[in-house]
Structures are given as structure tokens and as C-alpha cells.
């Protein structure tokens, strides 16, 4: 028993001594917020949540001239907010379905760089004026048909005159989901209408009112959100989106 007691005491000493150091570095508490804004309309650029949407890239230049980038995702509506950043100097840019903030030519030379450098302490706001590849606007509200399918109308236009991004439209999809977080990574395949285009077929729909109806027969009697996404094969092939809307079940 005595032996056991001494062993236990020894352990206590060892354990207690390893507690002596105080980890006194303050947790990150600075806030960076902002948004990606369509420079022509002033609206934020809609995107999808998760890895397939707009993200913010931070380069902590106060730490190294060539730091490993730190990324965080934008919210679906094109705004972003991170409240757990260390106070430091950051070179900030955004990546998403719009003409890149940092552009390089085909030999790797940086041709333009609209990144913003900020000294973050407390909180800061950075807004980026961008040119989305495509702009998707609702024409009226989604309408329930007699057979309980839903028909929507949208108008898609290009958001940029940049010659390098006048590529053909490859997909125009109507996403249906029971949450507002509706997009290419979250939709109900039973009702969503996905259409791929080859050649200039999709491009010829630009500027026109496009009518899309859900598939799969009658919609279930529950809250349903609709969102239209379209893309060109540029960058990481991300989608541009309309805002999510819902209509009451008749």
C-alpha cells in the first residue's frame, strides 16, 4: 500500500509539474468581414456554400513573404465574416465564379492584381468589386402549375465584357431543395431540372427569358426553395446563382 502511495505521489508530482507552463498566447479575436459585389449592379454575388463556392484567401505577409495561404468560405449570399483571426497584416483576395482578382497569362506572369492589403487589428471590412461570369435574375415568381409542378422564369446575362470569359454556357439548372441552401451540392434530384448544353446552344439563351419546369411530377406539400444556377467552363467551373426563393404551396 505504502509503495502504491509513493508511486501515486510521484505521478502527482510529474503530472502537476507538467501543468506549470501557462499557455498565455491570446486566442485569435480579430474580425474580417466584407462581401463580393457585382460592380455593375451593386448586388452581392450569389454563390454556393461549401467548397464549391466563393472563398476568401488570406496571405499573412507579416509572417512571411511567401506564406501558405489561409482560406475561408464565403456565405451563400456573397458576404463573409470571420471572427477568429489573428491580428496581422493580410493580403486579401476572393476566388469564385467571377473574373479573378489575380490574373495571370499563360506563362504565369501576373497581369493584374486587385488584392487588398490590410492591417487587421480588431475588425476590418473589405469589399471586392467583381465581374461575375453570369448574372441570373428572376423574371416574376415561381408558379405552381395545375399538376403541382413548378415553373420558373429567369434571365441570364453576362456579367463581364472581358474577352477571355466569353465562353459558352454549359449548364443551366433549376435546383429544388427543402432548405434555402440550394445549389449544385445540395438539391433534390427527383425534382430538379438539370440541363447541359454543348456548343453555342446554351449561349444563345443569354438575354432571353428562360422557362424551366420541375421534373418528377407533383411537388411534395412542404416548404420548397428554388434557385437557378448556370456556368461557363472557366476557372474551377463554379456556378453563378440566382437568389433562393420559395413560394407557398397552393
Amino acid at each position: 500500500m505504502k509503495k502504491l502511495f509513493y508511486t501515486a505521489m510521484c505521478l502527482v508530482v510529474v503530472v502537476a509539474s507538467s501543468c506549470s507552463k501557462v499557455d498565455n498566447y491570446a486566442p485569435p479575436s480579430s474580425t474580417l468581414s466584407g462581401s463580393t459585389i457585382d460592380e455593375a449592379t451593386g448586388q452581392t454575388v450569389q454563390t454556393e456554400i461549401g467548397g464549391g463556392g466563393t472563398r476568401v484567401k488570406l496571405l499573412e505577409t507579416s509572417y512571411s513573404a511567401n506564406p501558405t495561404p489561409y482560406y475561408f468560405q464565403s456565405m451563400q449570399d456573397g458576404t463573409f465574416n470571420n471572427t477568429k483571426l489573428f491580428a496581422a497584416t493580410y493580403k486579401v483576395s476572393v476566388e469564385g465564379p467571377f473574373v479573378p482578382i489575380v490574373q495571370t497569362d499563360n506563362t504565369g506572369t501576373v497581369t493584374s492584381d486587385a488584392s487588398q492589403t490590410i492591417v487587421l487589428k480588431g475588425s476590418a471590412t473589405v469589399n471586392f468589386k467583381v465581374q461575375p461570369f453570369l448574372r441570373i435574375e428572376w423574371v416574376g415568381k415561381p408558379v405552381f402549375n395545375a399538376d403541382k409542378t413548378v415553373t420558373v422564369q429567369v434571365k441570364i446575362t453576362r456579367g463581364t465584357n472581358n474577352a477571355a470569359y466569353q465562353l459558352d454556357v454549359t449548364n443551366i439548372n433549376l435546383y429544388v431543395s427543402n432548405t434555402q441552401y440550394d445549389g449544385n451540392n445540395n438539391y433534390d434530384p427527383r425534382y430538379s431540372t438539370l440541363v447541359s448544353y454543348s456548343g453555342s446552344t446554351g449561349t444563345s439563351l443569354l438575354g432571353q427569358t428562360i422557362t424551366i419546369t420541375t421534373i418528377g411530377g407533383a411537388m411534395p406539400a412542404q416548404d420548397v426553395y428554388f434557385r437557378v444556377g448556370a456556368r461557363i467552363n472557366a476557372g474551377l467551373d463554379e456556378y453563378n446563382y440566382s437568389t433562393p426563393v420559395t413560394v407557398p404551396y397552393p
Binding site: G51, G52, N66, T68, P69, E95, T104, N106, T107, G108, T109, N171, N173, N184, N185, P189, R190, S192, L194, S196, I215, G216, G217, N233, L236, D237
Partner: protein
């Protein structure tokens, strides 16, 4: 034991311990100039054939090839294959793989980065050290072994570059002295093109130095010059495809192109692929041992036998297994449900209807889909489920088990349910065309598990609602697509032996059919690049050789051979051999094929009223949606690798 006794023993121990300490202390005064006896030294390894063989055994066992023990989810050399590769490409559906994926390179069970560079290090070490012991062996022998080391290093760079693009090229052994600066050890990524060229030059060295027959092992499990040439044709074809079809780019600060190859380089890579494939002319041949030009059953049997005949002249490079040291469990995971092994599993790979529709010999609609309805829109009725497949291409039958086909002496029974409604005037489709809903349960008897309650047919006989191999709606351990995989399944393996970690069937990584397909593809790509149009005729001949062996209808003329028909041929011939994943990737069509895609299945039903079978073609009942993210063409470099070597630049989008 008494107390005094204990004390005495304690005392004894004290002296003993003192003695040991004293002895150890005296010993420690000696200078340590004897090589440690428990560590194998270079001269132990490099001075005997046995030592070299042991070194080679390790290199070959680590060789990164996608064999029976590979899946994108769990990586290379892993025993548990329940998220099979074909279920990521659309070739098949699996209950455990429900969508597209990039490989899980950062997974705990796949040391992708460290593992690859360990192999490269071991090859570098071998290449640097063997010449010091060259006098022990003949020059030819030394060259052959060096050729093997270059081959394995080339294979490893190939495995790296096809996944992540440009990687660090490390062709000398890096040494670390404790306390020294490690900056030089953080080798940055080279351009993608430089790595493909490295792969090409390693294979060139191997081709030049390896003999036609490996003198240590002539069975294809170790490299000879033709093996190196065959892999060179594969690698250069990949490089050419990337130069031609890739659009993603990434540059480092010094303008090295880490991702992507200038399109202008495409033709030279295709030319290299063609030249390398031509080296094998006459050295290998398509397997035709049991084949007959007029007998479809013989063609079918021949295609099956090919995967089991060790003497096949089609086998170029194989991986052999040995119980219990190196084993796999392909049959355990993939046998049809009714032949389930003693430890469970079965039916992991269920070929999709999309895959089956690629083949000939089936009744088709004008749009190429399988014909299941008659002109009036009612189901076509069959006396037997095999009637639909009576004229199917023999290669398809050797690749896929149809509902009702024979395997291991049993009829593999696959049935979705019994339709009890009237058949008068024909049976209308159970669901509207294109519907993704569940089947309505009126007039339908189904089984949720393999424990079934038999249904009494109008004539009084009993019939189980589902077949012995499915489909069970509540238990996906069954042929969920209506088909079960046939390729690689051993027809002679007793069911009691269909266990994981128990099988030793040889994996054929490279066979001559692929070399022919490489050659034809390179020829077509060169033709369309306008430099070598005359080769279209040779490509046509080659493809017809493969189609003839398969029992397929031959192509009518060179005009009918387009790049699309050639790709289709490749996907059919090499299906379920873990090649399609890489082909879809290098052609950069993965994201086009898997773009909100739900694959199709074929559900056999029995009509109790008609006493006949009918088939319903529909989309996967589980509504598993496949969307391939274009970022995955350049996979994510494991975060841990970048933390260790901070000069590594991550691929775009991660």
C-alpha cells in the same frame, strides 16, 4: 513466501544489478567501431543474389499500381475494398460508394506522399549503391537490375504526376545531418511537363538496359524491356491527353507550370506513346487459346480464361499474391449474393445499365438505350430472363453476370419482384418514363431481405418475390443494378474459400490489349493533329483485332473509327480493371459524364398473370447523384506533406 526469504532474494538481486551496471560501464569504455550486428549493411544486401532479390521484393510490393487492393477511398495496398473503383466511374453501382470522389490521398490508411517518396528514395539508393558492388556480377546482370530500379522509379513518378501534376523530382538520395539546415531538403515542385519527361526518361533507361526476358522471374511479375515500353506507352498517352485536353493551370513564382502542359507538346507525347507501343510488336499477342471465329460460347470462355491462364501471351506485367503473406479478397467482396462467402460481403460491384448499353448484341432503341418496351408502349415479355441477352456480345457476358446466367454451377437469380396485376392487353410501365420515384407497391410483391416469404402463383406453385441474388429493398447486399460483375471472379474458387484476405489470384496490370489500344489512340490523336493521318488505317486494324477477339461486330471502315468509338472500345475492353477512372480523368470528361448524373439500372420482374418476365430500365432507385468536381483533375496534395515541406504549393481550389 516468508518475509526473510524475500529480503534475501532482494539482496541477491541488488548484487546482480550492481554487477550488470559494472559490466555495462566497463563495456561502454570501448570505442564503438564495430558496425551494429542487428542492422543489415550494404555489403550484406548488395553482394548476393538473395540480397538483391530481397531489395527488389520490397520495391515491387510497394509499386503503386491500382490492383485488387486499391480503391480511391482507401488507397493502395489496403485489404478492405468496399468502395470499389468501378462504382466511382459509372461502370457500376455499389451500396458503399454513393457518388463521385477524388482519391482520399490524405487518409490515415494511405501514406501517399511519404510512401511514394520512400519508393523513390529506395530506387535512388539502389541506383547509387549497386555500381560499388558491380564486380560481383556480370555487366548484363547489373544493367538489368539498374533497369528495374529505373522502371520502378518511373512508375512511382507516374503515379504521382497523374494524381497531382508536377511534383518534386528527387533523383539523388537526400541526407539529413542532425542539426543542419533543412532548406535544401525542401525540394519544390517541378513543372508537370518535367515530371512526365522524367517518367519517360526513366522508362527509356529501363528499355535500354533490361533484357527481353527477366532472368530472375520470367512470368511477368518483374520488369523486362517490353514491360517498360508498355508502361511508357501508357504514360506518354496520359501526358499527351493532358497537354491536349487540360484547361487548369498553376504556376509557381518562377513561372514553372506545376499544373498543365502547353498544348504544343501534345503531338510529341502521342508520338512517343506510339513508338513505345510499337516496341512490343511480335513480342506479345492477344489471348486466343480457347477462341473460335464462329463460336460465341468459345469466345466468351476465352475471354474468361484469359484472366486465369498464367501462360497467356497477353500478360505483360502482373502482380502475384501468396497466401498468407500477400493476399486479397476480390471474390469475397464481389460474388453474387447467392454465392456469399462464409464471412459475408458479396455484390459490391453491380454493373450499371449505362455500362451494359455500350455493348452490341442487345435489342436497342434508336437512341442507343436498351429496348424493354414494344411498339405499343408495353413491356416486352420473356419466358426466361436470359432471352433478352441471347445474342449479347461474348465479351459483355464474360464481364457481367446477367440475370439468370450460370456461374459456379448455379443460375444467378436476380429479380426485383412479382407483378401481380393483369397482363391482358399488355403491361404498361410501372412508372412514367424518366421518373425517379419508388415503384408503386400496388400489384407488386417484393422482399426487403434475403429471408423471403414465397408468393403463391396462380398455378399454385410458390415463388420468392426476389431472386436469390436480390433485389432486396431493405438490404443492399444484392445486385442493386440488376447485374453482378463477372470479370476476375474465379469460377473454381469454392464458396467456403470466398473470404477476405484469403485469395491469391494474379492481377494483370498490363496486358497486350491495352498496348494495342494505346497505339490506336496515339495514332488517332496524331491523325487529328494533322501530322500522321495515314495511321488511321493501322488504328482501324488494331481495333478490329480487339473486337474480333471480343466477339463484337467488326467496324465497317476507317470512317467509323472516331476518337469516341475508340474510347468506348477501351472502356469496354478494360472495364473493371481500374483503368477507366484514369482514362476519364486524362480525357477531362469526368465532369461532363458526372454532372448531376444518376446512373441507370435494369430491374427484372415476373408477371404472375402472364407467367413471364419483363424488364424495367430506370435510374438508380437510391437516387445516388454523381457530380465530379473539375478541381479533382489535380488532386489535393495532403496537407501534412505541405506542413513538412513548406515549399510545396497546393493545387488550385483546395
Amino acid at each position: 513466501m516468508s518475509n526473510s526469504n524475500q529480503q534475501q532474494i532482494m539482496k541477491k538481486y541488488k548484487y546482480l544489478i550492481l554487477l550488470v551496471f559494472l559490466m555495462a560501464g566497463i563495456q561502454a569504455c570501448r570505442k564503438l567501431n564495430i558496425p551494429p550486428k542487428n542492422i543489415i549493411q550494404d555489403q550484406d544486401v548488395f553482394t548476393s543474389n538473395g540480397g538483391i532479390q530481397a531489395y527488389m521484393a520490397r520495391l515491387y510490393s510497394e509499386l503503386p499500381i491500382e490492383d485488387f487492393r486499391y480503391s480511391p477511398q482507401r488507397g493502395l495496398n489496403f485489404f478492405w475494398i468496399i468502395s470499389p473503383t468501378p462504382a466511382t466511374t459509372g461502370e457500376a453501382l455499389s451500396r458503399d460508394q454513393t457518388g463521385s470522389m477524388q482519391e482520399n490521398l490524405g487518409g490515415w490508411n494511405w501514406n501517399f506522399w511519404g510512401g511514394s517518396y520512400t519508393i523513390i528514395h529506395d530506387c535512388d539508393y539502389f541506383i547509387q549503391t549497386l555500381p560499388k558492388y558491380a564486380s560481383t556480377y556480370s555487366t548484363a546482370q547489373v544493367n538489368a537490375w539498374l533497369g528495374e530500379a529505373y522502371f520502378i522509379r518511373g512508375m512511382t513518378y507516374f503515379a504521382l504526376v497523374k494524381r497531382v501534376g508536377g511534383v518534386p523530382i528527387v533523383n539523388t538520395v537526400l541526407n539529413y545531418t542532425p542539426g543542419s539546415d533543412v532548406t535544401d531538403l525542401k525540394v519544390p515542385r517541378s513543372s508537370e511537363q518535367a515530371v512526365w519527361d522524367q517518367v519517360g526518361s526513366d522508362f527509356d533507361f529501363a528499355i535500354a538496359n533490361l533484357p527481353a526476358v527477366n532472368t530472375d522471374y520470367s512470368d511477368g511479375s518483374r520488369a523486362n524491356k517490353y514491360v517498360a515500353a508498355a508502361f511508357k506507352s501508357r504514360a506518354m498517352l496520359y501526358a499527351g491527353s493532358i497537354a491536349k485536353y487540360n484547361t487548369a493551370t498553376l504556376f509557381d513564382a518562377n513561372k514553372n507550370q506545376l499544373c498543365g502542359i502547353p498544348a504544343s507538346a501534345a503531338a510529341s507525347y502521342f508520338q512517343k506513346a506510339y513508338d513505345a507501343a510499337k516496341i512490343l510488336d511480335g513480342a506479345y499477342s492477344l489471348y486466343l487459346s480457347a477462341w473460335s471465329a464462329t463460336d460465341k460460347t468459345a469466345q466468351y470462355q476465352n475471354f474468361i480464361n484469359m484472366f486465369f491462364d498464367a501462360a497467356s501471351k497477353e500478360n505483360i506485367f502482373v502482380r502475384e499474391y501468396n497466401y498468407p503473406n500477400s493476399v486479397h479478397g476480390y471474390d469475397a467482396y464481389n460474388v453474387p449474393r447467392q454465392l456469399i462467402g462464409p464471412n459475408g460481403y458479396s455484390s459490391e460491384v453491380n454493373p450499371s445499365l449505362n455500362f451494359v448499353e455500350m455493348f452490341g448484341g442487345l435489342p436497342k432503341n434508336a437512341d442507343g438505350t436498351l429496348k424493354t418496351l414494344d411498339a405499343s408502349g408495353h413491356y416486352i415479355l420473356y419466358n426466361n430472363t436470359m432471352d433478352l441477352f441471347a445474342n449479347a456480345e461474348p465479351r459483355l457476358r464474360a464481364t457481367v453476370i446477367f440475370p439468370g446466367d450460370a456461374f459456379k454451377g448455379q443460375n444467378i437469380e436476380i429479380r426485383r419482384g412479382i407483378y401481380t396485376g393483369s397482363s391482358a392487353g399488355g403491361i404498361s410501365p410501372l412508372l412514367p418514363a424518366g421518373s425517379r420515384s419508388q415503384y408503386p407497391l400496388t400489384n407488386l410483391v417484393i422482399s426487403s431481405t434475403s429471408t423471403q416469404t414465397a408468393y403463391k402463383l396462380p398455378n399454385g406453385t410458390l415463388m420468392n418475390p426476389a431472386g436469390l441474388s436480390g433485389i432486396f429493398t431493405g438490404d443492399q447486399t444484392c445486385a442493386i443494378s440488376g447485374f453482378s460483375v463477372r470479370k476476375w471472379l474465379d469460377p473454381n474458387l469454392p464458396t467456403s474459400q470466398a473470404k477476405e484476405n484469403n485469395e491469391t489470384q494474379t492481377w494483370i496490370e498490363m496486358r497486350y490489349a491495352e498496348v494495342l489500344l494505346n497505339r490506336a489512340e496515339a495514332e488517332l490523336e496524331l491523325g487529328s493533329a494533322g501530322t500522321n493521318g495515314a495511321n488511321a488505317a493501322d488504328a482501324f486494324t488494331v481495333i478490329n483485332q480487339i473486337r474480333s477477339r471480343a466477339g463484337a461486330t467488326l467496324l465497317a471502315g476507317t470512317g467509323s473509327l472516331t476518337i469516341d468509338t475508340l474510347r468506348m472500345e477501351r472502356r469496354k475492353e478494360l472495364a473493371f480493371e481500374n483503368k477507366t477512372y484514369w482514362d476519364l480523368k486524362r480525357w477531362r470528361i469526368f465532369d461532363k459524364e458526372q454532372n448531376g448524373t444518376i446512373y441507370k439500372i435494369l430491374m427484372p420482374f415476373y408477371s404472375s398473370d402472364a407467367g413471364k418476365f419483363f424488364f424495367d430500365a430506370r435510374t438508380d432507385e437510391r437516387n445516388d447523384t454523381y457530380t465530379y468536381d473539375p478541381r479533382w483533375y489535380y488532386e489535393q496534395i495532403p496537407q501534412g506533406a505541405i506542413q513538412k515541406s513548406t515549399n510545396l504549393i497546393q493545387n488550385p481550389g483546395y
